[in-house]
């Protein structure tokens, strides 16, 4: 089955991926994604109805530790790479318009 990605789908992907796509790039993204989906459709040749999805190869267990602070106050270091900061906080543009 040949996939066709419409404008609505690629716009939705843009929202999920937090990416801005301009005209030309959007067309390329639609084509790229359709091509990849056509390719991965190969997996439908496999009957996996009775197979559990394998999230982990090894058995995983919760790793607990005592709730004790060992690394001290790292706020200054955490903020050191911030593009914009003020009074020990990250600065972001207004969130309500």
């Amino acid at each position: 089955m040949a996939h066709v990605i419409d404008d609505e789908t690629i716009d939705y992907v843009g929202i999920l991926a937090k990416l801005e796509l301009d005209g030309e790039e959007k067309e390329k993204a639609k084509k790229d994604m359709a091509q990849m989906l056509d390719y991965v459709d190969m997996l439908n040749e496999l009957d996996t109805d009775s197979v559990e999805p394998m999230t982990h190869v090894f058995p995983v267990n919760n790793v607990f530790r005592e709730d004790v602070v060992t690394n001290g106050d790292g706020s200054e270091e955490a903020l050191a790479n911030a593009p914009e900061k003020k009074e020990n906080q990250y600065v972001v543009p207004k969130t309500f318009v």
Binding site: L19, M36, L46, V51, H56, G74, A78, P83, Y90, P93
Partner: protein, 492 residues
Amino acid sequence: MSLMNLTAVELGRKIRAKEVSVQEAAQASLESIDAKEDRLHSFITRIDRKKVLARADEVQKKIDAGELTGPLAGVPVAIKDNMNTKGVLTSAASHILDNFVPRFSATAVERLEQAGAVVVGKTNMDEFAMGSTTETSYFGPTANPFDTARVPGGSSGGSAAAVSGAEVPYALGSDTGGSIRQPCAYCGATGIKPTYGTVSRYGLIAYGSSLDQIGPIAKDVSDCAAILETIAAPDEKDSTSVARDSYAFTKSLTQGVKGLKIGIPRDYFGDGLDPEVRQKVLAAADVLKSEGAIVEEFDLSLVQYAIPAYYLIACAEASSNLERFDGVKYGYRTKDYEELHQMYKKTRSEGFGPEVRRRIMLGSFVLSSGYYDAYYLKALRTKALIKAAFDKAFARYDVILGPVAPTTAPKMNSSLSDPLKMYLSDVYTVSVNLCCLPGLSLPCGLASDGMPVGLQLIGDCFREDNLFRAAYAYEQARGPIMSPFAREEAEK
């Protein structure tokens, strides 16, 4: 001969025997880098000479005081630029992190430094490790030391080129779908992707968290064993790290291959494999047979399904992992914006390159409601089938032997125009990551174009010992392989 033609273990031995000082070793690396970087461009960041020499001095004092006695004490090293290094730019070869200076080091880097390693720089790579050629780097491509018109492979192309070009004795790489093994194959270097969980991922900039592993890229098998022994350990900062029963990799090297059962999957030698690669890899199998291994062909099955399953899982995990790059906490922020969401979108669209954007979009799509079951869960079910096929193989064999890549290194500018074709070249490497298996890559000769061919040895989980046995035995029979850049270093 230059000090940079020695293996890490040989150089470490000379340093401990006081035949060479740590400063001399560091100088030799810095000089080699100076002489070759114009042509190779293995590095994104070269650490300031004074800082390197001061660090060398510090290590020398600790060696003299008897505090540092390990095989890597005083030996220079290069680190792939997706591993955090405290106080040193760590960009993952991306515009979005091109001003990021970490406040802590990755556990693997820390363990090397505790063992007396002298870090000389950060190596080039595909952006966020997404690519097979190192051409998606924001900082431009790296050249292959065997032929500068060709790519070094990827994503750890800078690390492999730096080692193959004798700029450093060894380097760290990371491997999500072949990113250590394939550049080693293309550059004639030796590297291992350990069993998942063997090396802590703390401080490694995540691509596909269920697939990523850090590992050594070196000149020979003995170095790989010594480096892995140094960096492998459980880490409370990585809940997926594993406490293994054994870390004694060096001990396995000389155990020989008598009676070792090696399986050759027929499905790894079908269409698409270059005839010369096929011939070199099978010749290596013959060598192991003559050394006493039991070599048989078998059908692994499901080989063609590994790439679609891998790309769905890797892109899904990447889309989630790369959410954190939003222009708020670190890295690049777009210049013009009015509100928060516009700032996010512009920052990410300007900060990520095309291949990274492509994978984030595919990953976001396959995780979205309505498509999650059809794509993401389907890929996880396929992974279970592939793992079962390997389990069946490892019930009969100790080692699976095959090629690393279908061809030798391609020419520059020949891969990125067709991403799907580039993905297909990962056919022999990705299932190792899906199944958490260890995979070792070492050169098995030169093709008629003068380019190295890579041999891949795959073991069952936690059975690196079998890989080291086979790889070392083969390497002893093969003899050394040197790039023109390494010969230039030897003759200077």
